[in-house]
Symmetry: C2
Subunit: 614 residues, 2 copies
């Protein structure tokens, strides 16, 4: 199924939406009491339309709530072979990442939407006509409250997880921070603490296009033969541009700029990109209500999890769940730095979070497309699986059923092989029981898993390699994707007892900054590195006249080693003196014999481990 | 003057533009003959309105043509203190980068515009009413032809330079490739071979907003009390978003999202970014004609300097001028990779070109703003100065009057100091007279200037550091900004006799790729590098147990050296054998004595220079 089919499938219909087909499996609940709104006022009543998949288990603790995005609806997936496609069949279904054999999946249509849940096209009991422009301004919190009423009615006290992307991601953020006891996990894709001013600006243009359409009739167009078809199409075309990456548009249209593929549309006949967008916009107009577009887009724009860092922190600190955040590298509508802002705030407040910026060509739409499913789907599956129970502390293997991650890879990192384990043996001994640990360049989590096995609870990893990171999530570890060379801007001062950098110091460019950052974030730093002063290495240069083949030597040469820094133990000690760091403990090893070296370690040890403090 | 003032100053008026003030210094010429159009048909007559600054010299060779962008006009700068501001006062004027004391500056209003030159708001002689929707589809080439007629009338056979950004940049590209004998220099800012599909898509939405405005009346709105004010405002708001970088929008609006600053606009009252854009759009509507917007935007969209790489190459290869291309790092409407496409094609066809991707926060609008003027202004000034004459081949100093570049910096590169000169002495001797040379990591052009002094003509540099690059342009050298670690994708096979990498090999990560690329682009490669096998360095490790302090040693340590690769001469020779490269010549130097080392160079030389072939 290609993107256009994905995004633009003609969905089924609800009452006032003239062209859309009915949602066959939709259920609905009605609440007769007034529904109060966050910004004041209330709706006289509330109907919530939803679909469910799978079964609620006896404990009632396997419910997963799906929060759809602006143009979605309750039909997240097909219910059976004969059913119409859902908007996220790729992810939701038997055996899929959100496995309906395992979870009870609930997907309600949003408050303010146009597919059955109360929205501008619903009848206003006060007038007997559709609300239209009389529908009040609603917020993301109002949408969440409508979902909460539904869950109360269904008897679900606590969700296994709430899942959402884009506007749906905003809803998950609201769930996790305003109703923290109601969910064990929060899974947020392609979201942000708030829209960027750029994204906000696009929405403003789009809303003006609708409102200034002469067929808008101040929002009371339901009695007229035509609604604001042109304005809605302009809004949708504009939105669609922002959902795609520039790369994806180039791939799709650059070769045939001037050849529209026989697509009939009133808007564009010259340029293929225009006829594509216009065709999609025409289809959108057939299934979506302009007033809902205005209502939901305004809720999107008004959302702000914290206008200041302190406010954002106060909100996120209220959360009690585990978090997985996913961004997509070419998403410029909800750019990765905004997910990082959330991740950084969660980390700084000690909340358990994993984060991956999935390398993707697909822009904001990536979460709807199969291209990167192997990455984001696996992450989601693993994260959900690890919410089930406290992970087995001794587990050194992946705990997710059906996980595709390479178990062999569990004992490897992206660049270093089994040598690694040796210094882990010593590092775990240097860290006192119960200490909190941040492992920089954690690879696939070998050291963290060892520490977890020894009873450490507060453990976080940082890793750049996406595959290694997926393995960490699979193992139930908290790990965030980042490049240590950036420093540790996401972490607060003195946040960990120990910050570990094992066999990675020699791969960072700005050594002093990384050490400084480690000793800002941790009370202690543990650093292990290969010693260039080791006698065999000295001999390679002195006698053979060749560049010493420093760890990881095998398969690497001077021209392709991951190392960019070459240091002896003496060099390191000198730097620590110059920077005013105290070496509390120092271990020098000859890894060939795995023996500590006491006499002349700068000559006889090939690996050094040091515990530092300021 | 801030950006809003810059871009949105209320300009002066022409005939059909009801609100704009008159252009006091504008002159005009009328051509009574039919004006044929590229896509067929012709205009029955043509008027070109223009302004001039400075004086044409006796030789008639100091004329600089300014090509304005979509919303500009002939008033590029103020003519005197009392005059209204021009749209590029920052750059054009006495003593400015485009110095009107030195150059005769001509700025015509574009064909299809609305400030006096024939356009949709001009009277159609056939009907006696404005053309309106009857104005034909015109192209960038048509606009250039109108300018050519003007220059013919003014008796200017050959321009010193044509200058333009955005749509104006497209015009300069057309000038240089279709009328190659008419200009000595082409200065192109923030342009591209064609719009990206993304930029094209925005234009399509914008044009639809205008055309579908009920007050558009099929383009014949001049007799109506109101034109398509709403559609034009929507188009302008959308365009404005694309002119700004996300960074600039965040800086401007993020702190006050919900506080519009008492700006009266019909479009937005809630969000500050919206009220700003809408206010600017309202002002734009007062001075600009919607039909002109449609006409010029379509010309922009239709421009394509070559639908295939071969076509692009054939067009650019027709040019006979020197080129300076400038992009801005945060410009996402005309992204840097598109300027690189032009630069790469010019380089591959041996055309003299310099290129800089100016590090900027300001997006596409950067060329209108003072923030980065020190960078793009200096480049423009230097480039123009060096078009005056064949540069003095012996000049080792900057030739531009009033240049702000640091002459001291001329003998330095970004990271390496006077040590450099020593290996230059030998490298120039290794390169036979007249050979073409590409210098990778050329710094501020020391080696290239030396070679020019020895009579070499085809010389190109590649440098990452913007300041060093500016010095090169100041010296009249051709240099393009790039990172050698990317390889040499912009260069064709066997394009140079020699490719030089002096004291830079040790700073690149993928050594093998860089060598491979050098020997693809050049018949010979010259590589110089510090030899880790040098006895003093061996001793530092073997006897002192410290990391050898390889060149550039002074001020650098193991933790902050620019070097990331460490190799001995023997290592290098081994790699050449492994890769199948022939070392044609090898020079080993002891730079302390500046003596060649014959016996055991791997021990006694601190610098090695090798000439390689495949």
């Amino acid at each position: 199924m290609n993107e256009s089919q994905e995004r633009e499938r003609v969905l089924e219909s609800s009452d006032s939406n003239r062209h859309a087909r009915p949602l066959r499996y939709a259920q609905s609940v009605a609440f007769d009491a007034p529904f109060p709104l966050q910004r004041g006022g209330c709706l006289p009543d509330l109907t919530v339309v939803y679909e469910t998949y799978g079964k609620l288990n006896a404990a009632g603790d396997n419910a997963v709530l799906m929060c759809h995005a602006l143009s979605g609806d309750s039909h997240v997936a097909r219910h059976d072979e004969a059913d119409d496609p859902g908007w996220w069949d790729l992810v939701v279904g038997p055996g899929r990442a959100i496995d309906t054999d395992r979870y009870f999946v609930i997907c309600p249509n949003l408050l303010g939407g146009c597919r059955g849940t109360t929205g501008p096209n619903s009848l206003n009991p006060a007038t007997g006509r559709p609300y239209g422009a009389d529908f009040p301004v609603i917020t993301v919190a109002d949408m969440v409250e409508a979902q909460r009423l539904l869950l109360d009615r269904l008897g679900i006290e606590r969700l296994r997880c709430a899942v959402g992307s884009s506007l749906g991601g905003f809803m998950v953020l609201d769930w996790a921070t305003r109703l923290p006891d109601r969910l064990a996990g929060a899974l947020v894709l392609a979201a942000a603490p708030r829209l960027t001013s750029q994204a906000l600006a696009f929405d403003i243009v789009a809303r003006n296009a609708i409102i200034r359409d002469p067929h808008f009739h101040g929002g009371q167009y339901y009695d007229h033969p035509a609604g604001p078809v042109v304005g809605l199409a302009l809004a949708r075309m504009l939105g669609h541009i922002t959902y795609l990456s520039r790369e994806a548009m180039m791939q799709k249209f650059d070769a045939n700029r001037l050849r529209p593929h026989d697509i009939q549309t009133q808007f564009e006949t010259k340029f293929s990109v225009g006829s594509y967008l216009a065709y999609q916009a025409d289809r959108f107009g057939e299934r979506f209500d302009a007033n809902s577009y205005l209502t939901l887009s305004m809720a999107l724009d008004l959302f702000d999890l914290g206008a200041t860092p302190a406010e954002l922190a106060a909100n996120l600190a209220r959360s009690r769940c585990r978090w997985l955040l996913i961004s997509f590298s070419t998403d410029w509508l909800f750019p990765a730095f905004q997910s990082r802002e959330l991740v950084g705030t969660l980390l700084a407040h000690g909340r358990p979070v994993s984060y991956c910026n999935v390398a993707s060509d697909c822009g904001h739409d990536a979460f709807l497309l199969p291209d990167d499913l192997a990455s984001y789907g696996d992450l989601m599956r693993s994260f959900l699986a690890n919410l089930e129970a406290v992970p087995d502390p001794s587990a050194d293997r992946c705990t997710a059923d059906g996980c595709a991650c390479d178990t062999e890879n569990h004992s490897l990192t992206s660049i270093f092989h089994h040598h690694h384990r040796l210094d882990y043996d010593h590092i775990v001994e240097l860290i006192p029981p119960g200490a909190s640990v941040l492992d920089l360049g954690c690879g696939s989590g070998g050291l963290l898993a060892r520490l977890r096995g020894r009873g450490h609870e507060r453990l976080v990893g940082v890793e750049l390699d996406e595959r290694a990171l997926r393995t960490c999530v699979c193992r139930g570890l908290d790990v965030v994707q980042d490049d240590v060379n950036r420093g540790l801007p996401d972490f607060a001062d003195r946040q960990f007892d120990f910050v570990v950098l094992s066999q990675t110091l020699q791969t960072v460019m700005d050594v002093r900054r990384v050490l400084r950052e480690m000793l800002r974030v941790g009370r202690r730093a543990v650093v292990s590195f290969p010693n260039l002063g080791y006698h065999k290495l000295r001999r390679q240069l002195a006698e053979e006249g060749r560049a010493p083949r420093v760890f990881p030597g095998e398969g690497y040469h001077w021209y392709n080693t991951p190392n960019v820094r070459f240091l002896t133990l003496a060099d390191f000690e000198q730097l620590c003196r110059d920077e005013g760091y105290t070496i509390l403990q120092r271990l020098a090893l000859d890894t060939a014999t795995d023996r500590p070296v006491d006499h002349d370690p700068n000559l006889d040890a090939d690996v050094a481990i040091a515990v530092l403090s300021r």
